[in-house]
């Protein structure tokens, strides 16, 4: 028990003292057992007050500190550092929130607020009296990072880390880099193509000795913890060596008897089992689709670079942190959703982007020229309970699609001449600098129609083409019928459907099933799994600019964490009482972070906490039938003494 406790009650100007009788609280608290000093201060966070508190701690030899002021969200770290500077362990400091949960919440009841404040400060004193001086555990850290996913975000993060002197392993599941960006032609607001950006990044990655790139590679095992992760990576054979004669390669592609749906073109075309997506693709070597290939050997006969004897490889990597940049999947409409999959001339936005790139002089779709296009917006985004047709879980806006759709219409006009274009939307969100595209499109003569979520457009069939009936509220709810040559469904982003890496990393997912950061604003690229960071569209819809920004943020965060070669871990960890533990295994089941393992103790098996894995969530506490587990800082003694103080009569 701590017996030399100092308590400070803050006025916060008048923010607290207008409602709470600070002087009275101080007076009552000064009589509490263990309190040797109780003061009220105008602003506890002011430099002069901090100095005063430090002097008091030193002079009086205080062994516990309580400051009753604002929310710990604001000043917990300020005052922990005050304690530390005075030579007091920062975990012997307790902050009591008598502003947000006191004077402000109860400004209608001064007496009630004062009584509550007294109990709250008493609870703080009770807690600090039982607090332990916790020490941060120090562990060594490997200054190397695994970046998973070599799209724009992954490659940009890899380069940034490498330039700061961190070793990078860039791991790509596909045989080619570039992710989704490689699939896009002209990009909005900059005059360049997705392929050019991918090419530039790839060249820089190749030229950087700190980056090792693996393609056709997947992480299959993860062990360890921040500073010291051990990854096992499976590398699939490419079956095509370098250099490869282009003529021979073409022959090999021609003789290949296997045809599969071409995912690169979102199923618009078919490709062979030996393939490359486009000529300048990186790495500049074809690959054989392991799953589709029948090993018939025809390609091997005509192309010397083909080697069907290549074997799968497994490698081990040791890294200090992991950045996930695994990207998104475009939303796949339900069969029949706005005619998709049932009416021939209905495509998704992503398919339309591929069409724009594949066609040269004329915009053709299934042999017929397209002269009029209608877009229906927000397909698979902004779903809401108001409408039967979009009751799904994609409540979010996919951010990039309004701009991307408008840009695709402008690109189509530029490439194929005058077109009739209808944008059937739910409100256009070309935010920021992208608004110029909206203006350009309006000036070019694109027509904008708008509907509400409770009156969706109806799509029916007329031959192979769609007929759209829409009530346009911009023209006072007039019913319009549109029969375009092509209907483009403006489909948004979804989390990756095949996501074994997320499971492997145990990264929490949000309500929308994208990876979840700790705090949207204050910790936007960190996950609750220490050392596992997220960036790009795997954490939610983002355009390329936004993906790259988050990638740079994750890179600097990873480097900053690992650069010293040593890490300090938060000491709020679970502790097992080995005498009480009977190893019933309940806690290992409850722990989502594999932080509990059995060890031998006095001839029996007992649970032991792996400190570097424990996140201090406490999930193991209530499941223990022996009550053998306590969480540092939240022990039974601390919590129950707080309850006693809060319940006590005044």
């Amino acid at each position: 028990m701590r017996k030399k406790i100092g308590v400070y009650i803050c006025h916060c100007g008048v923010n607290i003292s207008d409602t709470i009788d600070v002087e009275h609280v101080r007076e009552v608290i000064s009589r509490e057992e263990g309190v040797v000093l109780a003061k009220d201060v105008m602003f506890a966070c002011a430099d002069s007050s901090q100095k005063e508190i430090i002097e008091d701690i030193r002079r009086e030899g205080l062994d516990g500190l309580v400051i009753a002021s604002c929310s710990p969200k604001l000043h917990l770290f300020t005052f922990r550092s005050v304690a530390e500077r005075a030579g007091l362990n920062p975990y012997n400091y307790v902050q009591v929130n008598i502003r947000e949960q006191g004077s402000w919440a109860h400004s209608d009841n001064k007496e009630g607020a004062t009584r509550k404040a007294i109990r709250m400060v008493r609870a703080g004193v009770a807690r600090v009296a039982r607090s332990e001086a916790l020490e941060k555990t120090r562990i060594s850290a490997v200054n190397a990072v695994a970046v998973i996913g070599a799209g724009v975000a992954g490659m940009r993060a890899a380069l940034e880390l490498a330039n700061m002197g961190t070793r990078v392993f860039l791991i790509e599941r596909e045989h080619f880099v570039g992710g989704r960006t490689a699939q896009w032609g002209d990009l909005f607001t900059t005059e360049e193509t997705g392929k050019q950006i991918v090419g530039r990044l790839y060249e820089s990655v190749r030229g950087n000795e700190n980056v090792t790139l693996f393609t056709g590679a997947e992480v299959v095992k993860k062990e360890g913890n921040i500073g010291d992760f051990h990854l096992e990576v499976r590398i699939r054979p490419r079956y095509v060596r370098q250099p490869c004669d282009p003529e021979e390669l073409q022959k090999a592609i021609d003789v290949c008897p296997v045809e599969v749906e071409d995912e690169f073109n979102f199923g618009l075309t078919r490709r062979k089992a030996i393939y490359r997506n486009y000529e300048s693709e990186y790495p500049r070597a074809a690959a054989i689709d392991e799953k589709a290939c029948t090993r018939c050997g025809e390609c091997e006969k005509v192309c010397a670079a083909v080697d069907l004897g290549q074997k799968e490889e497994k490698i081990s990597l040791n890294v200090g942190a992991i950045i996930l940049t695994t990207g998104f999947d475009p939303y796949e409409p339900q069969p029949g959703e706005f005619g998709y999959g049932e009416i021939e001339r209905v495509v998704t936005l992503q398919q339309f982007h591929r069409l724009l790139e594949m066609n040269r002089e004329k915009l053709l779709f299934r042999g017929k020229e397209v002269r009029s296009i209608a877009y229906i917006y927000c397909v698979g985004s902004r779903e809401c309970a108001a409408n039967e047709k979009c009751k799904g879980t994609h409540k979010y806006c996919s951010r990039y699609c309004c701009t991307s759709a408008i840009h695709s219409a402008l690109t189509a006009r530029k490439k194929f001449g005058d077109l009739t274009v209808y944008h059937i939307n739910r409100g256009i969100r070309t935010y920021g600098k992208q608004e110029v595209l909206y203006e350009q499109s309006c000036q070019a003569g694109d027509l904008y129609l708008q509907f509400y979520e409770d009156s969706f457009p109806e799509v029916s069939r007329n031959g192979s083409g769609p007929v759209i009936r829409v009530r346009d509220f911009l023209t006072a709810g007039r019913e319009l019928e549109i029969t375009p040559d092509l209907l483009v469904l403006v489909t948004g982003m979804e989390p990756r459907r095949e996501d074994h890496i997320g499971d492997l990393m145990k990264v929490p997912r949000g309500r929308d099933h994208f990876y979840n950061e700790i705090h949207m604003k204050l910790k936007p690229v960190e996950t609750v799994i220490d050392g596992v960071l997220i960036a790009g569209s795997c954490q939610g819809p983002k355009n390329i600019t936004e993906s790259v920004k988050s990638a740079l943020s994750a890179a600097s965060k990873a480097h900053y964490t690992l650069r010293k070669g040593e890490l300090a871990l938060e000491p709020v960890l679970a502790e097992v009482d080995r005498e009480k533990c009977v190893w019933c295994d309940e806690c290992t089941d409850a722990c989502p972070f594999d932080a509990i393992q059995p060890v031998e103790y006095k001839g029996k098996k007992v649970a032991s906490v792996i400190q570097a894995n424990c996140k201090g969530c406490g999930m193991c506490l209530p499941v223990c039938p022996q009550n053998a587990i306590e969480l540092a800082g939240y022990t039974d003694e601390e919590i129950e003494s707080m309850i006693d103080a809060l319940a006590e009569d005044l």
Partner: protein
């Protein structure tokens, strides 16, 4: 004076999710009874039933768990695990002759200030009607 101090509610709130909502309720001056007291824990699925029972023993009339729900930074298992804590505790309460409805749980997200205040007012009303 003592009458005014009833019913007394103890809220278990979580550092990263419901605490910000409760703080914001104050910031927005959304008033609720000052007989509501909060203890912060890292995650609602880490609350021990014995702490809740202790609160009842010491004279709290109601205990409210401001759960992380699906927003929990420690993962999606939080919701089920918190529900289990409530279940376990309510069983203990029944054994002691305490009405299980005196323990209440609701997910309070980081911006759910208004729902929190509504919950506090309704729970207070419920517990007052309950003969306190």
């Amino acid at each position: 004076m003592k009458q005014q101090e009833r019913p007394k509610i103890l809220v278990f709130s979580t550092e990263k999710i419901s605490d910000p909502a409760i703080d914001m309720a104050g910031l927005l001056k959304l008033h609720y009874p000052p007989t509501v007291y909060t203890i912060t824990v890292p995650c609602s699925s880490g609350i021990k039933p014995r702490w809740i029972m202790h609160a009842f023993e010491k004279g709290f009339d109601g205990v409210f768990i401001a759960a992380d729900g699906t927003d929990c930074p420690y993962g999606e298992s939080c919701t089920d695990k918190t529900a289990r804590v409530v279940q376990m505790t309510q069983q203990m309460m029944q054994e002691k002759g305490l009405e299980p409805a005196r323990l209440k749980m609701a997910a309070i997200c980081s911006v759910c200030s208004e729902p929190f205040v509504r919950q506090m007012k309704a729970f207070t009303e419920y517990l007052s009607r309950d003969g306190n």
